[in-house]
């Protein structure tokens, strides 16, 4: 089993002048190298022509950034909600809890649906099939596409795959396979289109693609300057891209083949807790500690909508779209779930019921229900039904959104 760790070398021979010195870990053309600070300065200044210095280059770079923003603003003639003016507004969302799962003895941190649309795996200290992990927080879990295995990890810095067996009494920990190794906690994991590869994101600031069979690192993705908290794979036809969000307030889009950071978006004011693609793959939504959710369009290369309200104070921990992409479900740290009209930018519903933070919200693969997991140790599966405005008038009694 290969043990791949990301270790930062801080003292040793400089790759440029070979002297033993304190080192800076930098990238040149996406390759990591270790230069001493003197060589870094010299190299950075090499590109200087006469009359230039670092200050003037910096000023030029700022100027370019401003020009870019101006160009973007010129094309920015219309906001999403303006483009959606002619769309019929949504009426009332009526939801009802269908299942309340109380099997966990502790905070629920993460859930994932199986492709069969009716099974869930969830993680806290104990996963659905009662796998006990030796660390305290299991922050990430995922169902394999075949439904035959689950992957999970957290403060143990690893992502392990557990094949699901038919014998409920069998000790699943015995069959566990350590696949990913990071140098800090595992924040999210996801299988790619098959059971064979796993994509992980970590508190060490990197994402990585692993081969399940051999545990080998296939590709690593560097570019975040702080913990990466969430990732999502693109449903697009050209495939092979994914988006990640982190504590550096950035959402980055990556090419899985080359490891390159294709696009980057930085408009949030605080940690991005959750990222999720719009069903068409042309955009993605983020949920952040700054109490807003935002929609970023990949082709326009900018933010196109903000979902926020003055009365919403706490951060959004998890977001997911309904099948049509019209609704965005967002779970918040104030124990509620807010449902947003993606096109119009308005909030259409607020759901109470949990007694502690909502840590995860996932819509089922066929969109028939959505599940929320919370620090109150429960998972609630709810269905929703939209009444059009005309229906709302005749709908005399309102369902209370809270439940058990």
């Amino acid at each position: 089993m290969c043990d791949h760790t990301f270790v930062a070398i801080t003292f040793g021979p400089c790759d440029s002048c070979t002297l033993n010195k304190p080192l800076m870990n930098i990238y040149l053309q996406n390759e990591p190298v270790n230069y001493c600070s003197l060589c870094v300065e010299m190299m950075a200044c090499q590109g200087l022509t006469q009359g230039e210095n670092l200050a003037s280059l910096k000023a030029e770079s700022e100027g370019l950034k401003l020009r870019l923003e101006e160009e973007r603003a010129k094309l920015h003639d219309v906001e999403l909600h303006q483009a959606a003016e002619k769309v019929e507004p949504l009426g009332q969302l009526v939801t009802k809890a269908r299942r309340s799962l109380k099997g966990h003895g502790n905070k629920v941190l993460c859930t994932d649906w199986c492709r069969d649309k009716r099974r869930l795996v969830s993680s806290s200290q104990v996963t659905e099939h009662a796998v006990t992990m030796p660390c305290t927080w299991v922050m990430a879990c995922a169902y394999a596409p075949s439904g035959c295995a689950i992957a999970c990890g957290g403060l143990d810095n690893k992502c392990s795959v557990y094949p699901l067996s038919l014998d409920k009494n069998e000790n699943l920990s015995a069959k566990k396979k350590s696949v990913a190794m990071h140098t800090n906690y595992l924040s999210a994991c996801s299988f790619t289109n098959s059971d064979m590869q796993i994509l992980t994101s970590s508190g060490d600031g990197t994402c990585a693609l692993w081969d399940v069979e051999s545990g080998q690192l296939l590709q690593s993705f560097h570019g975040h300057s702080a913990d990466v908290l969430s990732l999502d794979l693109a449903p697009s036809e050209t495939g092979n891209t994914f988006v990640s969000g982190g504590c550096d307030k950035k959402a980055n889009v990556w090419d899985m083949r080359s490891g390159q950071n294709i696009q980057s978006f930085e408009t949030h004011e605080s940690d991005i807790n959750s990222v999720k693609y719009y069903p068409s793959g042309d955009a993605f939504a983020t949920g952040s500690d700054d109490a807003t959710c935002r929609l970023y369009d990949l082709r326009a290369d900018r933010e196109v909508a903000i979902y926020s309200k003055e009365s919403i104070i706490f951060g959004a921990s998890s977001v997911d779209f309904s099948i049509s992409g019209r609704l965005l479900f967002a779970g918040y740290n104030d124990y509620t779930i807010n449902v947003w009209d993606v096109l119009k930018g308005t909030r259409v519903s607020i759901l109470f019921g949990h007694e502690n933070r909502v840590s995860t919200v996932r819509v089922s693969p066929d969109g028939t229900a959505f599940c929320s997991g919370s620090w109150d140790h429960t998972l609630r599966v709810r269905t929703g039904r939209y009444l059009s405005l005309s229906d709302t008038h005749t709908h005399t009694h309102t369902h209370t959104h809270s439940l058990t």
């Binding site: 870990n25 219309v78 099974r119 064979m196 508190g203 300057s225 003055e310 104030d334 269905t383 939209y386």
Partner: protein, 461 residues
């Protein structure tokens, strides 16, 4: 009140933006013009100024943010739980009641964001004061904490007791109302920072973040941006939502019924991967995009049949695409073998299923095959994908085969939820997919491992 200004983890306000937002709410509540109406509150014989009732708080929030009372109560409750507002009646119970109960604003000195984390010495001084003031006034859990602290910071205990005595002496010189207020404020602060057992720990943040800031600096050479007209992009969202609205069970419901509501799994059975006759909505979706067709195993099957039957049969394109998917998503150890197979069947000159790729792509692909990796066929696969999308796919949608299928496809009848409980269907746990996976592909065609036949046995009552 000597509370140390220790702030080891950096600026708490920056880390916890919700605290800043709460403070903004609190400040606007105290605005002299549009803020809360406050009045004097009589507690036994003392009069405490600047108090407000719980119901006033709720109605102010309701009006200011245009929200429901339920939501306002919810927000107000957090203001109390985080110690920004404290109750005068039942001061140990930090929750907001929507009635005449009096509340006051906490002084900024004791705000959660100003003074965090609470230091042990300060807590010791606070408990010591309580102990001295009236012997035995400490509650059980406080007595425990007191004893623990006494052991832990024993070396400073003289200082602690001395400070406690000094503070008590200073407070005796104040007016009764001021003294009471200061006591309430301090108590509220400690209820938030040292909650009694069983109470919720509002200051629990979860695992620490940002402890390892990535020291690597990226020297960016240049980015290329493609700025498309935003208007065009946004209209595409509107179109997508409209197109898929009928296919979204939350927006339009689903037929025959939502299994989660009626406990009737007919919907899942009808839409399973191995259903013989698909539903109309499902067949419709195949016309929305080529990817939707290929993502559905039934759609792939139908498309393959069509390609085989076509006069200038181009089924090798789809078969090639499927084989490439298998290489990309399959086991690493089998890549070399699979690539070899693909070459023999699809790329070698004179191959039985030779695919028509442009010469440039063919050249680079054949070169790359000498060192097979999972992406070596990527370019060729893309070329074939777009070829099918542009050519065969539109023809399929216009074909008799597709149109017939669409006509024959099922439109389920709606089944309503049974009203009588004894008629409700029993819920059975569905068989685990682990039970159902086939031992191996039986038809030899390389289907990607995610596309496995899952027969879900229906469980009738």
């Amino acid at each position: 009140m000597t509370i140390s200004m220790v702030n080891p983890s950096g600026n708490l306000r920056e880390q916890m933006p919700f605290l800043t937002k709460m403070e903004r709410v609190i400040v606007s509540m105290q605005d002299p013009d549009v803020g809360m109406k406050m009045r004097n509150q009589r507690l036994l014989i003392t009069v405490i100024p600047h108090a407000m009732t719980g119901s006033d708080i709720v109605s102010w929030l309701t009006q200011k943010y245009a929200i429901t009372e339920e939501e306002a109560l919810h927000i107000g409750n957090f203001l109390v739980k985080y110690g920004y507002i404290y109750p005068l009646k039942e001061p140990r119970n930090l929750c907001l009641k929507q009635d005449e109960s009096p509340y006051r604003f906490q002084t900024p000195y004791y705000w959660t964001s100003t003074r965090w984390p609470a230091s042990e010495m300060d807590y010791a001084i606070y408990l010591a004061k309580k102990n001295i003031r009236k012997q035995g006034e400490l509650i059980d859990y406080e007595k425990e904490c007191y004893n623990v602290l006494h052991k832990r910071i024993n070396h400073t205990w003289d200082f602690v007791v001395m400070q406690a005595r000094e503070q008590l002496r200073a407070s005796k010189q104040r007016r009764k109302a001021d003294r009471l207020v200061l006591e309430y404020q301090e108590q509220a602060y400690w209820l938030v920072n040292r909650p009694p057992p069983g109470a919720m720990e509002v200051l629990e943040w979860g695992p620490e973040r940002g402890s390892i800031a990535n020291p690597r600096v990226q020297l960016v050479t240049g980015h290329c941006f493609f700025l498309n007209n935003a208007c065009v992009c946004e209209c595409s969202f509107v179109k997508y939502c409209e197109q898929y609205q009928d296919h979204d069970p939350i927006m339009q419901g689903c037929l025959p019924s939502n299994p989660w509501i009626t406990d009737d799994i007919m919907y899942w059975n009808m839409n399973s991967e191995t259903a013989v006759m698909p539903t109309k909505l499902r067949v419709e979706r195949w016309s929305f995009s080529f990817m939707k067709l290929l993502n559905d195993p039934l759609g792939q099957k139908e498309f393959l049949i069509y390609l085989e039957k076509e006069f200038s049969g181009t089924s090798e394109n789809l078969l090639f695409w499927q084989a490439c998917e298998d290489v990309q998503h399959g086991e690493t150890s089998r890549i070399a073998d699979k690539v070899d197979e693909v070459y023999k069947q699809y790329l070698a000159p004179g191959a039985s299923n030779w695919v028509n790729i442009d010469s440039k792509t063919m050249e680079s692909t054949l070169e790359g095959i000498h060192q097979p990796n999972r992406f070596v066929l990527y370019d060729a696969q893309r070329h074939i994908y777009f070829l099918m999308k542009k050519d065969s796919y539109p023809r399929y949608l216009k074909s008799e085969q597709y149109k017939n299928l669409l006509e024959k496809a099922i439109v389920p009848q709606e089944t309503k939820k049974s009203v009588f409980p004894f008629m409700r269907r029993q819920r059975h746990s569905s068989p685990s997919p682990a039970l159902l996976t086939q031992a191996g592909d039986d038809d030899g065609k390389a289907l990607s491992s995610s596309v496995r036949a899952n027969t879900s046995a229906p469980s009738p009552t």
